[in-house]
């Protein structure tokens, strides 16, 4: 953890509702490139002010994302079947780690920070994020830990949060995905993170298992706010923000909106389009994209799927609620808990 003497600006938090991966990717790219622009123009006449640390939280419509070392990998048939029926998208990303799934019921947190400013080494940074998630889980009375493999685990070889980070000039992007009440069936289509014999897990599953085993009284579960769905995820998101802020040494958090990020993009000529990093991609409206260098081409016809929102795999019930714009940016300056 960075020394407390560091005088860091407030962590700017962009809290997005359930979104298309492409949208989050684009906003992330603007902030990431803003940091890089600062670095490359420092000391020149075109120098721009140093950007503050940013954190994007969101969850995605179903998508399988592949890691850097899987750039040439063809997805398994089970995933391709989902693709062709428009039930999930895939994306190839520059992050570390291997294939994973993102979907509703997850809390995804992408810090975009200059590790040097936070006096964190890459190795240290990954551990800082893991520890933040462990503290979040502790708040909800779930005992979690790290292993030799990255990510956050609960006992019996069950993985509850996945980590994959990209660093360029020590500026971070991508981050962590914590399964709150994710439908875990999605993970069965892949060998998540390249780890065979690992069971993907969620907070919900953990608490249900405990209840079944009589290890936890229902009263207690209810007492700690175990109502599934949107409200609970919002609470988890707040904890994640607060613990990540603490982990990277930011004493304050400050909410921002997507429009502010887009405005920054316009001001500095950062379109965010290069953040669209997939080779093949079907978005939620059924458009198929292919990316060649910086050029994004729409390929194939626009397909209007029979039933876009309903999937064989049961999606979360409160999906529509999730897109409620009210959820964006919970107000006020929030002090991270010490």
């Amino acid at each position: 953890m960075p020394p407390p003497t560091l005088n860091l600006p407030a962590l700017r938090v962009l809290n997005l509702p359930l979104s298309d991966y492409s949208r989050v990717s684009k906003l992330q790219s603007i902030l990431f490139n803003l940091h890089l622009l600062y670095k490359s123009t420092q000391g020149t006449s075109k120098a721009i002010p140093q950007p503050p640390p940013y954190l994007i939280t969101s969850s995605f419509h179903p998508i399988y994302t592949f890691g850097r070392r899987e750039a040439a990998r063809t997805p398994p048939d089970s995933v391709l079947n989902l693709l062709s029926s428009n039930k999930a998208a895939i994306a190839y990303t520059p992050r570390g780690g291997q294939v994973t799934f993102h979907g509703p019921g997850q809390v995804v947190a992408y810090p975009i920070i200059d590790l040097k400013r936070h006096e964190l080494s890459p190795r240290c940074y990954v551990r800082v994020i893991e520890k933040a998630i462990i503290r979040v889980l502790e708040t909800f009375r779930i005992e979690a830990f790290t292993t030799e493999e990255a990510g956050v685990w609960v006992k019996d070889n069950r993985k509850i949060a996945s980590i994959g980070v990209n660093l360029r000039r020590w500026v971070s992007s991508h981050g962590v995905a914590l399964n709150v009440d994710t439908d875990l069936e999605w993970f069965q289509k892949i060998v998540a993170c390249g780890l065979d014999g690992v069971e993907m897990w969620s907070m919900r599953k953990e608490l249900e298992t405990r209840l079944e085993q009589g290890r936890e009284s229902r009263a207690l579960v209810e007492a700690i706010g175990m109502t599934y769905g949107k409200v609970f995820r919002k609470k988890v998101t707040e904890e994640v923000v607060s613990e990540i802020a603490k982990g990277i040494g930011c004493k304050l958090t400050y909410p921002i909106g997507a429009d502010e990020v887009e405005k920054l993009g316009e001001e500095y000529g950062l379109s965010g389009e290069d953040g669209v990093e997939w080779l093949k991609y079907w978005d939620a409206s059924g458009l198929y994209y292919r990316v060649n260098g910086d050029n994004i081409e729409m390929e194939g016809e626009e397909r209007v799927p029979d039933d876009l929102t309903k999937t064989d795999i049961k999606d979360t019930e409160d999906k529509e609620d999730d897109t409620n714009p009210d959820e964006e940016g919970a107000g006020g300056v929030v002090k991270s808990r010490d």
Partner: protein, 176 residues
Amino acid sequence: MASTLRLVSRALPRASAPLCRTTAAAPVRILGTPLGRRHLSVTAPRLEIIKRYTEDHEWISYDTESGVGTIGITNYAQEKLGEVVFIELPDIDSSVEADDSIGAVESVKSASDIMSPVSGTVIQVNDTLNEKPKLVNEDPEGENGWIVKVEVGEGEVERLQEELMDEEAYVRYTQE
């Protein structure tokens, strides 16, 4: 130190035309080095290895005789990254520009881009790293852990010496 400062361009053999396929595409960045990025520049004697370091912990060692620059990550960088599990290498013959990503070093779930300190053409990659990425930990600045060899574009050597750190400056930088 000041007494050893001389015009670098005179001490170096000019790269011949076929060596500079990428110069047309290379951005103009010969003059007006930003003050903030200036570091000690020491003139290289003839036919020697000029080794320089970036603020992002890449090293390049330029062979003045062949015009080839070997690029890797520093010992400091590998310590900070931890165990390397995968190296992404660029395609041979691909042209690179200074400050572009030419690959990545992946360690504990973080993939760090390797930024090219120079513009030029990739002529060789260290294939052994596909099998043994850990060589980057074991011998980051030596015979085994280098990552790519680049035919360095025209004017780049001068810029390299102007803008990047020599060993002494780099050691100081990492101790800051």
